[in-house]
């Protein structure tokens, strides 16, 4: 835990990050920017896991370990999504959300 910082402040910070990510997810029209908003959301979730683990249950390690899994999943998801986006760009020469009507060919 951090000296002088309560759990409320860190949870508020991570929820602000989460909803900034949600805002970007709604407003962005470019697939790469949508993916970056998802990264923001996943990071906020990982911070929540670690913070709740260390502040409320310091004797256990579940939250700490699940945040490692979240990071691994986020990296895997990013690599796969960028492969799909590059392939889609080869097919329709655009990465805007409105142009990607055909994902199956």
């Amino acid at each position: 835990m951090i000296e002088g910082i309560s759990i409320y402040e860190i949870l508020s910070l991570s929820s602000i990050l989460f909803f900034i990510g949600i805002y970007g997810f709604f407003t962005r029209e470019n697939l790469i920017m949508v993916l970056m908003s998802i990264e923001l959301i996943l990071n906020a979730a990982a911070v929540n896991f670690v913070v709740i683990n260390t502040y409320l249950y310091p004797d256990f390690l579940q939250g700490a370990i699940f945040s490692i899994f979240i990071i691994a999943l986020a990296a895997a998801e990013t690599a796969l999504a960028i492969a799909i986006i590059i392939n889609l760009y080869k097919l329709v020469t655009s990465v805007e959300v409105k142009d990607t009507e055909v994902m199956k060919y």
Binding site: I10, F19, I20, G21, V50
Partner: protein, 181 residues
């Protein structure tokens, strides 16, 4: 001291997160995202979980951001600006996320968390033991599942990114058949 550091990191993270979702230049948005991710790793260091902080810097600062930069450079020109989002959409999305944030903050602030006042750093050796333990509370199964998933993602990303370009004489069906081979 740590309190001031936390507030500085929090301010940097919020400002750069807002810049990430509003910047119109793609490459700059990626750099702003890098600042946010390093801020997250700073939070991990402050909580005395140095292992995850290091992992965060290695995986995000070294891997994911480089992947984003490569894809942006493959797809866009460096100076290309994104389309402006319609104002109506911005307002609706802003209102929705502000409402969600309000509800979440209200729920957090009114809930009486029973915080424990003992501070103990999370050791790497404990995490390693937990990840490979078969006993109660061991994480050997998710660990193996994640490793299989990473292998599948690696193969899948190679196969998908290798897809054939649609030429003039190649119809979509044929390109699909070529991809399957």
């Amino acid at each position: 001291m740590e309190r001031i550091l936390f507030y500085i990191i929090a301010a940097i993270m919020i400002v750069f997160a807002l810049a990430t979702v509003t910047s119109r230049k793609v490459l700059r948005a990626v750099m702003y995202l890098l600042f946010v991710l390093i801020g997250v790793s700073g939070i991990y260091f402050l909580i005395d979980y140095s292992f995850l902080g290091a992992i965060q810097i290695v995986v995000y600062g070294g891997g994911v951001i480089v992947l984003f930069i490569f894809s942006v450079l493959l797809i866009h020109h460096v100076e290309l600006e994104l389309e402006v989002t319609p104002l109506k959409k911005k307002i609706i999305a802003g209102l929705l996320s502000a409402a969600g944030l309000g509800i979440t903050l209200w729920a957090i602030i009114t809930y009486p968390f029973k915080a424990v006042n003992t501070s103990q750093p999370i050791e790497v050796s404990e995490i390693g033991n937990k990840l490979l333990s078969y006993g109660d509370g061991g994480f050997i199964l998710p660990f193996e599942v994640i490793s299989v998933l990473l292998l599948a993602v690696m193969i899948g990303a190679i196969v998908i990114a290798k897809g054939k370009k649609l030429g003039k004489g190649v119809s979509r069906k044929e390109a699909g058949a070529q991809n399957e081979n």
